[in-house]
């Protein structure tokens, strides 16, 4: 019996692991009387696997049987892999046992599609409602919305879970059609829109009646595969910034393409995962969310792809020398935030600390500014002259770009084998 469960757990974890999202943040819930668990506002990572990814939630599939045949997915119908499925009761019990030992923050529930979207979704909702109603579980639950699910089921699920997500996977419709003939953007955007509308309505309702149960208080997220198709970084980031326009969209995850089905001729042949590109996309994503950058400043038709040898903020600064120097002691928070080498934390400290005295380089260093990068772009008390004037953009580029990358870059280029 228990061996059976362990086996299933292994199979379904194998199948679920390519979902990148693992955040357990964005929702706070106190323990209710007699219940178990709580949700922590900033989320907690309980473990890290050997690939350095965090394990916060019990990321698992209800079943890995699937009627679809998407080229990029390990669980596609035509793959010969071990298949298994949990009963809702088994999975709920397992979640509680793990939770009681402080292994996890909650549950991340996904599923292969059996019969049709609605049937699958109903089974997933059964697990979640077991947890919430019978076990009185107050921990975090993240649930996948299956593309094509009816709006009633979305509304039902949203009241039970903290975060919902629908994976976009392929940024453009024609490439999606190529790799996943059973899916289209319409069925993906539909549930996304439903979740968004429900969250907005719920916010309004909660203004009138405080006791209205929250609808997906952690918002929604999505995932884009990078490197499986030929989209440029500009296309990806344009899409991202459009998604972030909706306040309910909390995170867009980028997943470097891993060739799990290398026999499929529609997929590119790659030697390595595009890790650097993935990293640069995340950096650009941070610029959009926390540094008040506009997407066209990071990528545009002149620079459609991110520079792999330097981070996007530095790349922007080198392209826009007219913006600098920034005076650390005078300029606004927003301007200081744009200096390479100064992050959100340091910028906030600078703005607070300069009220007391003029800041010099020594103080900046102690605060945590990376002077190696920042020195070209700032002036402050003690350093009145501006280095960028003496140094050409080319010089800065050469002195700050990450050297080992230049060599490995050649090995990383994708070859489309069509």
């Amino acid at each position: 019996m228990s061996d059976n469960i362990t086996k299933k757990l292994e199979i379904l974890a194998e199948s679920a692991k390519y979902d990148i999202s693992c955040a357990s943040s964005g929702s706070t819930r106190k323990n209710s009387q007699g219940g178990i668990g709580a949700a922590h506002r900033s989320g907690i990572c309980h473990s890290f696997t050997a690939d350095g990814r965090c394990v916060s939630l019990l990321k698992i599939m209800l079943t890995n049987y699937c009627i679809y045949d998407c080229a990029y997915c390990i669980n596609r119908r035509s793959n010969d892999i071990p298949r298994a499925g949990f009963t809702p009761k088994e999975l709920a019990n397992l979640t509680i046992e793990f939770y009681r030992r402080n292994y996890i923050e909650g549950l991340f529930l996904s599923s292969g599609i059996i019969k049709n979207a609605d049937h699958t979704m109903e089974r997933m909702i059964r697990v979640v409602s077991l947890l919430r109603n019978e076990h009185r579980f107050n921990g975090y639950i993240h649930m996948k919305a299956i593309p094509g699910t009816s709006s009633e089921l979305i509304s039902q699920a949203g009241l039970l879970v903290d975060r919902m997500s629908v994976n976009l996977e392929i940024p453009t419709e024609e490439n999606l059609k190529l790799l996943a003939p059973d899916k289209d953007h319409q069925t993906i955007y539909q549930p996304m829109r439903h979740i968004h509308q429900n969250i907005l309505e719920n916010r309004e309702d909660r203004k009138k009646f405080r006791s209205t149960p929250k609808f997906a208080p952690g918002g929604q997220s999505t995932q884009i595969i990078v490197g499986a198709t030929d989209e440029s970084d500009q296309q990806i980031l344009q899409l991202t910034s459009k998604l972030y326009k909706r306040p309910s969209m909390k995170r867009v995850y980028y997943s470097g393409f891993i060739p799990v089905n290398s026999y499929d001729k529609r997929l590119p042949v790659t030697k390595d995962i595009p890790r650097v590109r993935e990293n640069r996309l995340y950096q650009a994503d941070w610029l959009l969310r926390f540094y008040e950058f506009d997407v066209n400043e990071i990528v545009n038709s002149e620079y459609p792809d991110l520079d792999l040898t330097m981070d996007p903020k530095l790349a922007w600064a080198v392209r826009n020398p007219h913006y600098f120097p920034v005076d650390i002691n005078r300029d606004s928070y927003q301007r200081i935030l744009r200096v390479p080498g100064i992050g959100v934390k340091s910028a906030k400290l600078i703005v607070l600390a300069r009220r007391h005295r003029k800041l010099n380089l020594e103080a900046l260093k102690r605060i945590g500014v990376v002077l190696k990068r920042a020195q070209f772009f700032i002036i402050c008390h003690e350093m009145r002259s501006f280095k960028l004037q003496n140094a050409s953009p080319e010089y800065i580029r050469l002195s700050l770009q990450e050297r080992p990358l230049l060599e490995s870059q050649q090995n990383q280029q994708l070859v489309m084998a069509l």
Partner: protein, 264 residues
Amino acid sequence: MLIYYYDKTFEGLLTAIFDAFKLKQHVDQLLVEGDVEPLFVDKVHHVITDNRKYERVQIALKKRLSRFSLRQLMAVWFSELPESDLLIFRYLHKLFKTQNAIETDFADPDILAIRKIANKVSRECENLRQFVRFNLIKNPDTDSKAEKIYFAVIDPIYNALPLTIDFFYDRFADQKWAIYDQKRQFGYFYDLNKLEIISLNDDLLVNQKINDAYLDEDEKLFQKMWFRYCKALTIKERINPKLQRQYMPRRFWHHLPEIVGDKP
């Protein structure tokens, strides 16, 4: 050089700052009663912890500092680092010396140091929230053998347990649990109603590990499941042990079933 001796309590530290202002003295070093006196000492003052004195300082502190800064000072105190008491002393001295707010003057080395140490301690608190692992055991008290307790052993570098205990108290409200700090030889036990401080003196811990004889029958099974789950979750193409160690330092590993696995 002027030296203050005090009794190594927070109350004692607040009394010391009171005395320093009362006597208009500049203190160079704080020592605990019984410490050996260093060379070149001109003057020594013995602080006698006094309720009235430290309460006055406490009231002044609450008036002058935000709750956030007070928490930071508490965190620095619980860091138990050498000279952390002198750092708090200097911070308070600066605070009471002027009428202005000094909390955000991060160009000042002492104020930044307080912030940095407080961040380190809160990082350790976060580590506890992340890596405490409960094991279901039978109560080692012989008269209540049937009772099951979720038990965890920790050895944090800073004394972070008192600062995080509220988190566990809220989260695991419907199970009996205990967390024991091996380094400092104390722990907390929750019996569904209240928290109490405990110490261990029996054979529950053998070689800093929980004695297998006390483990619940199913406990090994769940540990094995968790180990196998984490192994299955690893993407082999992306193996990156350095990144793993960066987020999950080695010093926590010997308590984690996902790392220790089915090794004895």
